[in-house]
Subunit: 133 residues, 2 copies
């Protein structure tokens, strides 16, 4: 069902430092930058193999990523798996008894369709399903 | 420098449930199982694209993963990037001013050579470098 790791999402307090770390020290090309107002983040994608690192800077303290930063500090926030068909994957997850955050897919970064599974039944991991276009 | 995401490492309290989630609901084949006494974990690898999910069950409460579980609960523990030459990658990380956990590479899971970067200078992310054989 899950074809690859599409990306890992990192919560960052200082976006420019995080970009410098990933581009300079880690050698990952920065390939996309987008402000996603409805999710309350400025997001940056870097390429690594068939996957990406997604840097997430909260636009305000009272956003999900802002609250995560306040309690846990910067670091690993979620993992996203690539799927061929996000509607089918979400239906399969529902059928497997997994708790969903998104009942139906919604727009994700860079024109993708995404849906999140709740950490509660996903091993404590905030898990995103991504259908790339 | 970093060629791909080699794996994400997940701290798990109940290894059999985590295996069931990843194999049954997520459709990832289980490809390796190993007890690494010196790291205090029982580890399982599952395939996903060019990457793996690494499940880590602590062998005791006073191990690093045991302590992580006690404070944070199950979930994302570390990310590992694949490198062609772990000695060279570690030297480059040192040269970039990054704080190292391992001054020299050591044996990792399934015959790999690995080294960990300290979260402090890695964006709050426990970061592993992996040279596959
Ligand atoms: Co994401
Ligand atoms: Co690992």
């Amino acid at each position: 069902m899950f074809g690859r790791i599409d990306h890992i999402g990192l919560a960052v307090a200082d976006l420019e430092s995080a970009i410098e770390l990933h581009t300079q020290a880690y050698g990952m090309p920065l390939v996309h930058r987008e402000t996603i107002a409805e999710q309350g983040v400025e997001a940056v994608l870097l390429d690594v193999g068939e996957s990406h690192v997604e840097l997430l800077r909260p636009l305000a303290d009272d956003t999900p990523v802002g609250k995560f930063l306040a309690t846990r500090g910067p670091g690993l926030h979620h993992v996203a798996y690539g799927v061929a068909d996000v509607d089918a994957a979400l239906e399969a997850a529902r059928g497997a008894g997994l708790r969903l955050i998104d009942e139906t897919p919604r727009a994700g970064i860079r024109g993708t369709r995404v849906a999140f599974l709740h950490p509660k039944t996903a091993g404590g991991v905030l898990t995103e399903l991504v259908e790339a276009h």
